[in-house]
């Protein structure tokens, strides 16, 4: 059992957890993730590590309530336990001094980009950050990101905060203004990452995205997380999760993330019905790909 040392909402439906996991904390590098399972009948879901503290033996994760498992997780409080947490998995982000790096964070993706941004800043890069969300509530970690950014822009879909528009509008604008960009890191819903890749392709800016396919074991054993990179099959859990954006076949990623949509819907409906009836943990079935539902985020589904 992995004890939750601290839990609190940072936005509606989005909660940050500090979890006691000394082995993982000791080895974590920016860009890596954990897989967790809440209870004996639970599914295994991958979540990026937001930060770690090797001395205290803790890691933190940021979770958006989307399907049954994430809703159950976000119902946990300080002092509760998570049955299984394994990691750190995946390759760490490539950290070096590129020059100027534009970090694009969409919704909860900002929390996932945060540790890499910190490491990139420490490596001497000039950081230009673009944060986006459907509305003000979904612009996350603004203060934290501001501390490690040289410039920071905010866009919201509905104009409730920052500039009205998409993160890609801002990125296009910066490129048009002639800003020298050596590297782009984009983390967010799949359609957002695809849109960023489309924008940076023509000017030839090296762009990295963090992919979130469906996974089970996270060690390369099952092959469920296979993605197509430069025409070749790769396993996101061991070869990724970060890949060069212009090589990624986003349509196959989105197609594969839809594989359990029916089952996820069924799970969530039963869970919500049970919740309404006042029972906890009565509902059954999970949300395999929180990623897939994030991908349907209205902002990016047009």
């Amino acid at each position: 059992m992995f004890r939750i040392q601290q839990a609190g909402f940072i936005a509606p439906q989005i909660k940050r957890f500090v979890i006691e996991a000394p082995r993982i904390a000791r080895k974590h590098r920016a860009g890596q993730f954990v897989i967790l399972r809440l209870h004996e009948r639970g599914e295994r879901i991958p979540l990026t590590i937001e930060s770690s503290d090797a001395e205290r033996g803790t890691i933190s994760i940021v979770v958006q309530s989307v399907g049954k498992t994430t809703k159950q997780l976000n119902a946990l409080e300080t002092g509760d336990g998570i049955l299984d947490v394994v990691g750190p998995l995946g390759k760490p982000s490539a950290i070096k001094n590129f020059g100027t790096v534009v970090v694009v964070g969409g919704g909860v993706g900002t929390a996932l980009a945060y540790p890499t941004t910190v490491a990139l800043k420490r490596a001497g890069n000039r950081i230009v950050t673009i944060l986006g969300g459907r509305n003000r509530d979904l612009v996350l970690l603004e203060n934290e990101m501001r501390q490690v950014s040289d410039e920071l822009y905010i866009t919201t879909d509905d104009g409730s905060y920052g500039e009205k528009g998409l993160v890609t509008d801002k990125l296009r604008e910066l490129i048009a203004q002639g800003m020298t960009i050596d590297e782009v890191l984009a983390v967010g819903p799949v359609p957002m990452m695809k849109a960023v890749a489309d924008v940076t392709k023509e000017p030839g800016i090296h762009t990295v995205v963090s992919l979130n396919p469906i996974m089970i074991d996270g060690t390369g054993m099952c092959g469920g997380c296979r993605v197509i990179i430069g025409g070749k099959s790769k396993f996101a859990c061991v070869d990724g999760p970060e890949f060069e954006a212009h090589e990624v076949d986003f349509s196959v990623l989105m197609q594969r993330n839809r594989m359990y949509r029916e089952a996820e819907r069924k799970s969530l409906e039963e869970f919500q019905r049970a919740e309404k009836e006042g029972g906890h943990g009565k509902a059954e079935g999970g949300d395999k790909a929180t990623a897939c539902l994030m991908a349907e985020d209205k902002q990016w589904s047009r």
């Binding site: 299984d84 089970i216 074991d217 060690t219 054993m221 092959g223 469920g224 594989m259 359990y260 069924k266």
Partner: protein, 482 residues
């Protein structure tokens, strides 16, 4: 001086023993079992076990034992069954095999003990696997946990992976008085026994009981540790004070066919398909959270002819698949699966399409599998494996409508540990180099065995390497010589 003549408890004369027919294993009816995941074989009754045991010829030089990868003393344990001393028989097996309830169920006996039983010259072999299972289950029912007598040596051994190789080594080492700590990457102990082999062939409860027995013997287990990621081999020595490490992580990565359409929804690796079902209980969705695609009334095929392939397709049948095919590129004679599994699969209505190979998976227009385009094969000259090489028959292409395909054509080495352990030598295919006698690797104090050394093999071969490793680790810890 004349040697003391062995006194047999068997009342039958040798020629009469051959007249006793091999006792049939009671099994769940095929029509019933295709609708459930409970075990197919029901196990011998005491009476059946004694009858079967009477068939043993008690050879002076028992070849059955010579061909057992862990050296189970077959003649001796069978004799104890004849005497009615079932716990004694279990203890006799345990001298060489720490997981008898498991090997009694999944070992390919026809390739080892039973295949080399003298009875096969005239009649069917002795049911050694069935008898092993009988005494192991009997011991479990009686609740007799074997004790450990060896005084503690103060030495610590880390075992990486809790599959058959790791468990076998752990059992032997703890009996020598070493402190044994087993690391497992998944959330359940058992490795391939847990995620790979389905409930209807090896009930999870049987594995848990065998592991509880090992815990009672003093073996420590830690789940959720991916060695190579969560902790590295060098750290186990330097920071955690281990004196030796045994790497038994299994083969690892699933091999795909590299044909068009493998990314389609509905195309699974056998590892993923079986992990969802066995480890994650997807067959009990939505009571359990992990889903699997709907198979009810669907057409499903597995590619491959090994035990894993049959485990996968028989699971698909139990999940309601209407048509369930095995597509295998060689003929049935070359099929590596256990004979009993092929028999059971046929009883369950699995359609074996041998000399058949898929060349493309076809899209239904929405990213889901619609069909497999296949070719018929014929057998040519023997290849490197000694088996006749399958060659595509020109112009034989045809389509099989399918909604789900499971690829069970093998695995390749998982590089997680090799890539984080400097100085650990691997072969061209990425498997760890280890002596086939001592299981020693190129790194002092590091041993390796099972599929991560040999590539995909069987439970019992992995256990054999675990035993050799345990012996060799014990020698190393005692002498400190490398």
């Amino acid at each position: 001086m004349e040697p003391v003549k062995e006194v047999s408890p068997n009342p039958l004369k040798l020629k009469d023993r051959m007249k006793v027919p091999r006792q049939h294993m009671p099994e769940q009816q095929a029509e019933l079992r295709v609708h459930n995941f409970t075990e197919v074989n029901l196990g011998y009754s005491t009476e059946l076990a004694r009858q079967e045991a009477l068939r043993c010829l008690e050879c002076k030089k028992p070849t059955c034992m010579d061909y057992c990868p862990v050296g189970v003393k077959v003649k001796e344990f069978v004799r104890l069954i004849v005497e009615g001393n079932f716990l004694g028989a279990a203890a006799k097996i345990r001298e060489d095999n720490v997981l008898p309830a498991i090997t009694g169920r999944v070992c390919p006996q026809e390739d080892h003990c039973e295949g080399n039983c003298l009875l096969t010259k005239k009649v069917e072999s002795l049911g050694i696997g069935y008898l092993e299972r009988f005494v192991a289950d009997y011991e479990q029912r009686m609740g007799v946990a074997p004790g450990v007598n060896a005084p503690p040596t103060g030495k610590k051994v880390a075992i990486v992976g809790s599959g058959p190789a790791g468990l076998s080594a752990a059992g032997d080492l703890v009996q020598k008085g070493h402190r044994v700590h087993v690391f497992e990457a998944l959330h359940e102990i058992g490795g391939v026994l847990m995620y790979g082999i389905p409930e209807f062939r090896l009930p999870k409860q049987v594995i848990r009981e065998q592991i509880d027995t090992m815990r009672a013997m003093g073996v420590e287990f830690e789940t959720n540790v991916v060695v190579g990621k969560t902790v590295e081999i060098d750290e186990l020595f330097e920071q955690e004070g281990y004196d030796a490490v045994f790497i038994a992580t299994g083969a690892g990565l699933p091999v795909f066919l590299n044909i068009p359409g493998e990314h389609l929804n509905g195309v699974y690796s056998a590892n993923e398909f079986l992990t969802r079902i066995n480890l994650m209980h997807a067959y009990e969705f939505p009571r359990y959270d992990e889903p699997i695609v709907e198979l009810k009334g669907k057409q499903v095929a597995v590619i491959g002819g090994g035990n894993t392939a049959l485990d996968a397709i028989r699971s698909a049948r139990r999940l309601g698949a209407d048509k369930a095919y095995v597509l295998y590129r060689r003929s049935e004679a070359e099929m590596p699966a256990r004979a009993e599994e092929v028999k059971h699969a046929k009883q369950e209505g699995i359609d074996f399409q041998v000399l058949t190979n898929p060349v493309e998976f076809l899209d239904d227009g929405n990213g889901w599998l619609r069909a497999a385009r296949c070719v018929r094969m014929e057998l040519g000259e023997p290849d490197a494996s000694g088996r006749r090489r399958p060659i595509a028959v020109a112009g034989s292409e045809f389509e099989i409508p399918l909604s789900v395909v499971i690829i069970a054509t093998g695995t390749s080495a998982n590089p997680l540990i090799q890539s984080t352990t400097p100085g650990l030598k691997t072969n061209q295919r990425g498997y760890i180099e280890a002596s086939s006698e001592t299981q020693r690797t190129s790194r002092k104090g590091v041993f390796a065995g099972g599929d991560i050394v040999t590539g995909s093999a069987t439970v019992i071969l992995a256990m054999g390497s675990g035993r050799r490793a345990a012996k060799s680790i014990h020698e190393y810890l005692t002498t400190r010589e490398w």
